[in-house]
Amino acid sequence: MACDDRPLLSARGLTRYYGRILGCRDVSFDIWPGEVLGIVGESGSGKTTVLKCISARLEPSAGTVTYDTRTDGPVDIHRVSEPSRRLLMRTDWGFVHQDPRDGLRMAVSAGANIGERLMAVGARHYGQIRETATSWLGKVEMDTGRMDDLPRTFSGGMQQRLQIARNLVTAPRIVFMDEPTGGLDVSVQARLLDLLRGLVSDLGLAAVVVTHDLAVTRLLSHRLLVMRHGTVVETGLTDQVLDDPQHPYTQLLVSSVLHP
């Protein structure tokens, strides 16, 4: 059974090669219930590879990912049967893509996008699905009058909110986010971050946020993993890592941020 005295998800010795090219090597960490972990690093440092491996979207070349399920206790997500893994992916987990078009069904309305996961787990009452979708639109601060509009008529920020609502509707316990604020302008970014921070703390979600934007991690994450060339070079509490970076690469990363 799931409980609070062991990590929700733990990665041990995660290694992934793309042929001869290294994706990530020997990455280990734990995520506890309700904790937000940030993974930062430059492009090509293996952040997204790690995220894909721990969210079962990519099989690691070596290493294990253990997830503490609600019913069966800890399981190795790359060893369990495909049906149970896919069930986890659409109930217990959420995945927020950088580009909302990867995570949304663009040809169906916002309401249907939010309702999809509910219908996938067996909701068959139109009125209730719609009610839930309305309340989630409200929670992500969207106009409920746009429920029946197609996502392509939404702005980038709204699409990203919709994607978040769509993921959270089945009350997942962990959300994986790949550059959730990438491609948005700063004011929209700020509001989205505010929203994410509120949702994460209100719902007691655990989250893994991959980003190259240190400001995002500063705001969202409790703990930080700094990656470079596929390996973790530094890890610690966010403020500690950002305010007192130890590794030369982290120092470089922190010092390259502009302070207007």
């Binding site: 219908m119 068959r124 029946d148």
Partner: protein, 299 residues
């Protein structure tokens, strides 16, 4: 006019056109399809002497199951006298020499495009559907590998997304043909483009129902007495089409009606889409509002 007609077969063809090895291959696919209701079995679809999309799948299935003692009926949109139906009937009359008929009761094999006959089918009959697109998830999920996985894992929630979208846009489930069904509580199936009016006829039908998709190279089946349930929502249950008129020729209020434009002044009439059913009713003395416009049995 006699309803059952026999034509002398053309020499030089194998019985029912397909060679025996091909028929065995198709029959093997059919057996597997019957064993797994609703599952799409791949088969090596052959080139037929008519284009894909004109019923090549149905023809191959019919050719593989037809025997000398069979009587064949072919309908297209319910009618026995449209081009597709006439050509396919003539094809089997010439290549197999089997008797053909327009009467549902007399037929042992009925090949159909877009309708199920109004006359209830018997246990000794086989209904063969011509299927354009066999995959019910096709317009929702473009990847074939992924749709197969979804079938394997019964991940059918996305089909309800489509129905949800219908209700959100039109206030009711507007899908009116090719309405998705669940066969035997397991596989999601596309019943070929029959109107949803016909969906209830598939449920626990005593006749064997075979589906052939020639271009897409798939065969699937609903064995006799198998549950076929149309998808719906608890608060928007499945409903079939209704008309506020009766058939203008036979006065039927229980059959699927076609709207026919009769002149350039907006004149129109509703008549049964199943011509055999309509004719039989007219012969039995039923009359509609436009009775006399059509010569019964003149199809």
């Amino acid at each position: 006019m006699t309803r059952v007609s026999t034509v002398a077969p053309d020499g030089g063809y194998t019985f029912a056109y397909l060679d025996e090895q091909t028929k065995r291959m198709v029959r093997r696919a059919i057996l597997k399809a019957v064993a797994i209701p609703g599952y799409q079995v791949p088969f090596a679809s052959r080139e037929m002497p008519l284009p894909f999309g004109w019923g090549t799948g149905g023809i191959q299935v019919t050719a593989s199951i037809i025997g000398r003692e069979d009587t064949l009926k072919v309908i297209d949109q319910g009618a026995d006298d449209t081009v597709n139906a006439v050509s396919i009937r003539a094809f089997f009359a010439r290549t197999a020499g089997v008797p053909t008929t327009t009467r549902t009761e007399d037929a042992t094999i009925i090949q159909t495009r877009h309708r199920i006959p109004e006359t209830p089918l018997r246990a000794s009959q086989i209904l063969v559907y011509q299927v354009p697109i066999p995959e019910p998830l096709r317009w929702l999920e473009p990847r074939e590998a992924e749709t197969r996985r979804m079938h394997a894992l019964q991940e059918y929630g996305v089909m309800h997304v489509r129905l949800y979208e219908d209700i959100a846009r039109y206030g009711h489930i507007a899908t009116s043909y090719d309405y998705p069904v669940r066969v035997n509580g397991r596989y999601l199936m596309r019943p070929s483009p029959i109107p949803k009016f016909d969906n209830p006829k598939m449920d626990r039908s005593p006749a064997l129902q075979l589906f052939g998709a020639g271009r897409e190279k798939r065969i699937y089946a609903v064995p006799p007495h198998t549950e076929v349930r149309s998808l719906d929502f608890d608060d928007h249950p499945f409903e079939v089409q209704k008309w506020d008129q009766a058939c203008a020729l036979c006065g039927s209020t229980a059959s699927f009606l076609d709207e026919i434009v009769t002149d350039n002044q907006g004149g129109r009439m509703f008549v049964c889409s199943d011509t055999d059913h309509c004719d039989a009713r007219v012969l039995a003395g039923h009359v509609g509002s436009a009775a006399g416009d059509r010569d019964p049995g003149g199809a």
